[in-house]
Structures are given as structure tokens and as C-alpha cells.
Amino acid sequence: MSLLNAIETEAQPQIEAAGVRKRRRHVLDLDDFSQQEILEVLESAEGMSEVLHRDIKKVPALRGRVVVTLFYEASTRTRISFEEAGKILSADVINMSASGSSTEKGESLLNTGLTIQAMGVDIIVIRHPHSGAPYLLAQHLDRVGIINAGDGIHAHPTQALLDLYTVREKLGRLEGLKVVIVGDVLHSRVARSNIWGFTKMGAQVVLCGPSTLLPLDMLRPRGDDDENDPLASVQVETNLDRALEGADVVMALRLQAERQNGGFLPSMREYIRRWQVTEARLSRANPEALVMHPGPMNEGIEISSTLAHGGRSVIERQVTNGVAIRMALLYHLSAGGE
């Protein structure tokens, strides 16, 4: 069973009763988002983006709400972007990292969550090295909304949404695009959530990298319902030149040095030679193809420096859009009735 569906959840099903959708409480992954709901978040983020570009970047929407960012793993852009998003919306944002907290005294994740809930916090944004950690909180906390800011190698839904937003902003659509995700897909929560997101929006996803770093089991047919299974359309191609043929979006993934102990690569030199995304290789893609990277980048390994900072790169734009998307999600979880 692949990691994509290995974690069974009680995440809120989207109940369509009398045209009213039940309010979403958690954002754990994109698997339980409908195409319509993804679109709503992307459209709200456009409105949020306007607020980001004002002289006075402050609106009162979430006044009196408390958001805790609970990070058990290092992060620059995700944590700061959640903090900025919350503050622009007038929520009170409290940052907590594992080091310096009671985690060092041995407090369990669940007890930390219950403690935070007891303080009357409205939303917990959690990043954790273990896949599934946000689901544990979502199952056991009944008064707090949980947003997954990255769990192990499983999911990173807010990154996927900002990637969808960036592509839609630059190319005007998502449907029918060819999206090539290159590199260490096996260890990439960004890739997993993006596969859900892009396929749900009707894009063609191609995974590319050394076969040792591709989650081949993920693409095995999973049941009788293949026609409605968005993952059934995902393709795999180990040859980067072939994968890039006619691509509209090329997303390079970080080669995760901290997860490479299993002898996945013969050598870094070979990886660079065969899978680094370079200007020369990009000539096979569409002339307007976008170059993306979720960051942090290893320039000169998975992506060449000239390309990362070149005219087709939207990597900085991804960071800016990340704030707008997180504003839209914080608002999305807070707005709405009982």
C-alpha cells in the first residue's frame, strides 16, 4: 500500500446536503478536497494577494483568533509565511518549536496538543518529521482546527495549493497542462500533495528521477475504480529529456541529503549529470514552461543556478503566493457556521 493512502483518516468528508457543504475543520492533505473547493481556495487567495500588496497590510478578519505554529522540524518559509498570513488577518500567532519546549522533557505530541487546546487556541499549524502526526491531533482534539505544514514524507498540502495557485496565475489554467516533477519523489511530501492537487485539477503529472527515488508502488492500480482514480493517470519516466518533452511546468525537488542513507544514489555526480534541471534540457519543454522549486534549493544539484534565477523561474513568486494561500486557508477554516 502506498503512503498516499496509507493513512486512513476521519478527515471531514465533504457532505453536500441541500447545497450546503459542511464546514472544513482541518487541512491535512488534498485527497479530501474536491476540485470545487480547491478552486474556492485559489480564488480567495487572489483576494488575499491584493491585501498583501497594500500599503497597510492588515485586515481585521481573524481578530480574536489564536493560531499556534507547532514546528518539530526546521523551516524558514513555511513558518514565517503562516505567521505573516495570520498577522495580516489580525489573528494572534504564537510560534512554538520542539526545542526549548516541554517536548525536551519527554511530553508526547498528543499531550502537547491537548495542552494547547486547553489554552483556547483556534488553529494549530503543525510540521512534524513523522508521517501522520497531524492526523493524530485531528483525531483527538475536538476544538482546534489542524493545518498540516508538512508531515514526514507524506503530505504538504499548503505547498501544493500555492504551487497550483502560481501555475494558474502564470499560465491561466491548470487543466490539460503537463507537469513534470523531477528528483527525489520518494521522500517528497511536496510531490505527494502536488500529485493529488494537479491531477484533481485535470493536469497530467509525470514523475521523473532515478528509479530508486520513485515510489513505483504508488502508481500500481489500486482497485476496480481506476477510471475515477486520479492517480491512475500519473506517468513515470526515468529519462529526464523524454519527460520534459512538451512540459508546461517543471518542478525540481530538493535532493534530501538527510534522508539519503539508504544508498539510493550511486553518486552525486551521476545524479547531477542525469537529473539536474538545466537550461539546455529545458529547451525540450514548451517555450513558456515554468520552472518551480519548493525550496530550500541545492543550487547546482537538482537545479542549475542560472535556471533557478532565470526568466522562467517562478520560485520567488511561489514564496509570495504562499502567504496569500495560507491567508486563504486560515480564513477558510475560521469562516462558516457551526
Binding site: 472544513r24 491584493e50 478578519a61 486563504a328 469562516a335 462558516g336
Partner: protein, 178 residues
């Protein structure tokens, strides 16, 4: 459930023409005027009013779009509404702003709109133009220009449809049965 039509397309056209004349009369022309429509239908009404104004007066009037959902005081009690981009093409500092919306009801939307305007500058004056005033105010707010006053019951729903969003110009009262 019977729909009761209040205004048809001709009524709406005449009301907007009259309101445009009232705006001109009160402000003695279009100098320093900015028409600000509140999403969604207020935006379309604002465009129509502005085009009336420039037609009657022969000079262009700037139009802005305002989304007020981030300024509401009842975020928790509403289904997540879509946030639409606010577009403020001119500086409203020192200008005479005419806020435009379709229905004036509790007044909370207008209060939120005034808060939102404040974040963009300090207008010399803010006026309010409304297609339909249905009463039941919860705040001390009144409209300067009214297309039509219609007494309603609080549980009635006023449905405004405009060609731009709904393919037809019509205002109707719809009684929702539980």
C-alpha cells in the same frame, strides 16, 4: 413559495438613471467623485452608475471594486464566502466616495465597507447609493440615494439578479419555506 417581482429591467434602468442625476445634483458634477462598488452586485451597479454619470456629464468617473468580507463582524456565523480582489485604481484620499450596493438591510455590510475604505485613505466624504432599501437596520446607517424603498418581513429574502451575473435584470421577494 411565490416570487413577487419588485422591479423589472426597465424599473432598474430608470432608478439608476435617477440616482445618477441625484448624485450629479448633490455633488454639482463629477469632480473628485469615485464610485466604489461592493462585491458582487454592487460592483456591476457601480459600473452602470458610472457610465450614466459620464454619459450625462461627458467625463469619465473612476470606479473601484471593494470586497468587504475581511471586515465583517460575523465571520464565524457565515459560510466561508469567497474573497474577491479589491481594486482601487485611484487614491481616495480627499475624494468624494459614493459606495454602491444592491440591497440595504441591517447596515453591517456598509459599516464593514467604511472600515475597508479607511485602509485606503481618508475620503473627504462618503455617500451611499442603494438599489433597494428593505429596512430592518441594526446600525445607525442610512442611504443618500435609494432606487426603491420596499417594506419587507425579516424572514423574506430579497433576490437581486443582474444581467452581468444572472442573465436578467430583476428584483424579487422570495419567501423561503423551511
Amino acid at each position: 413559495m411565490a416570487d413577487r417581482q419588485i422591479m423589472n429591467d426597465q424599473d432598474i434602468r430608470r432608478a439608476l438613471a435617477r440616482v445618477a442625476h441625484e448624485i450629479l445634483e448633490r455633488n454639482r458634477g463629477v469632480e473628485d467623485l469615485v464610485i466604489v462598488g461592493i462585491h458582487t452586485r454592487g460592483v456591476h451597479l457601480a459600473r452602470r452608475l458610472a457610465s450614466n454619470l459620464s454619459e450625462f456629464e461627458g467625463s469619465e468617473v473612476p470606479v473601484a471594486d471593494l470586497d468587504i468580507n475581511l471586515y465583517r463582524d460575523d465571520v464565524k456565523s457565515r459560510m466561508s464566502p469567497r474573497i474577491r480582489p479589491t481594486r482601487m485604481p485611484v487614491d481616495i484620499q480627499g475624494k468624494k466616495v459614493v459606495l454602491v450596493d444592491d440591497v440595504l438591510f441591517t447596515g453591517r455590510t456598509v459599516r464593514a465597507a467604511m472600515d475597508a475604505l479607511n485602509d485606503f485613505g481618508r475620503p473627504q466624504q462618503v455617500q451611499l447609493a442603494i438599489l433597494l432599501d428593505r429596512g430592518h437596520r441594526e446600525l445607525p446607517i442610512r442611504a443618500d440615494y435609494v432606487g426603491q424603498n420596499v417594506p419587507t418581513a425579516p424572514d423574506e429574502v430579497v433576490r437581486v439578479r443582474l444581467v452581468e451575473t444572472d442573465g436578467i435584470d430583476e428584483v424579487a421577494i422570495v419567501r423561503v419555506e423551511e
